[in-house]
């Protein structure tokens, strides 16, 4: 059970992050600080899974870097460091945790697009 007092001090939901689902192809725009300058880095991939709840919730995005090396990055869902998240397409998946994608490469790692 979570106390209302705890909920009241938790950070607000980041308004620039839409509803995400496992399997979505997303592009995450992260604010990066270099000295005094701030720039935005894009991280584009497939949402592998959502985790946690409330202020502790995270989502993990997997993308293929060069040489076919998979890179996974976990973001805090309420982090103010996320500038925005763009959902590029929804895909058909049948589970909540897409761990099976890790062992697949190339054509086998494709997901079917979901239209609604």
């Amino acid at each position: 059970m979570m106390s209302d007092l705890i909920k009241s001090i938790e950070p607000a939901v980041n308004p620039n992050i839409p509803d995400l689902h496992p399997g979505d192809t997303v592009s995450v725009h992260v604010k990066i600080r270099e000295g005094n300058r701030e720039r935005i880095q894009e991280f584009k991939g497939i949402v592998l899974y959502m985790h946690g709840n409330g202020a502790n919730s995270t989502f993990t995005v997997r993308r293929m870097a060069s040489n076919g090396i998979g890179v996974e990055r976990t973001f805090l869902l309420r982090s103010p460091r996320i500038d925005k998240v763009v959902v590029e397409r929804h895909n058909v998946v049948r589970r909540a945790k897409l761990y099976y994608l890790r062992s697949r490469t190339g054509k086998a790692a494709r997901l079917k697009q979901k239209f609604n």
Partner: protein, 211 residues
Amino acid sequence: MLKGLIGKKIGMTQIFDEDGVAIPVTLIEAGPCYVTQVRTPEKDGYQAVQLGFGETKPKRLTGGQLGHLKRGSLSLPPLRYLREIRAKNIDVAEGDKVTVEVFSVGERVDVVGTSKGKGFAGAVKRHGFRGGPKTHGQSDRLRAPGSRGAGTTPGRVYKGSRGAGHMGNDRVTAQNLKVVLVDAERNLLGVRGAIPGARGGLVVIKEARKA
């Protein structure tokens, strides 16, 4: 102002600082406390302030406790918990109210609580012993403590040797925690990191000794 409060642990969450870094926060419902007694060197041999916390129904306290809170000109509400805090310079009087505002964001505090009881625990859990090997013909040695001392001389186990026994439910102090949140309206105090005890446990918040 006296820097000390009694409170109740509410639970943990995380918030973001101005750089967007997530910091772990423990919330404490701290105060309001009342100064129920001042201990002086002349009378008691030491200097301290007795604080009371947690208003309750009068019938939950004994007559003696109620009398302690309503003596002479002192007239305090029925308070469930009384704790003493050592103080060098006492600048409060009996009957004064102490609120969470005595602390400010960025300050360092020590939090005293009672750790969660673990019951009778083995040496591996209680003292971090390595235990025995899992394989190579071992049976029932996995979490065994091993030797507790020499053999015929001295022929006994020295006192204080570490072994299995009751663990937890001890007084524990978490030192030098940074105050990250003070909410006077709701008597909330947020400190960075974990504090001892279960949710709902009584804690005493003091100025950090080693800040």
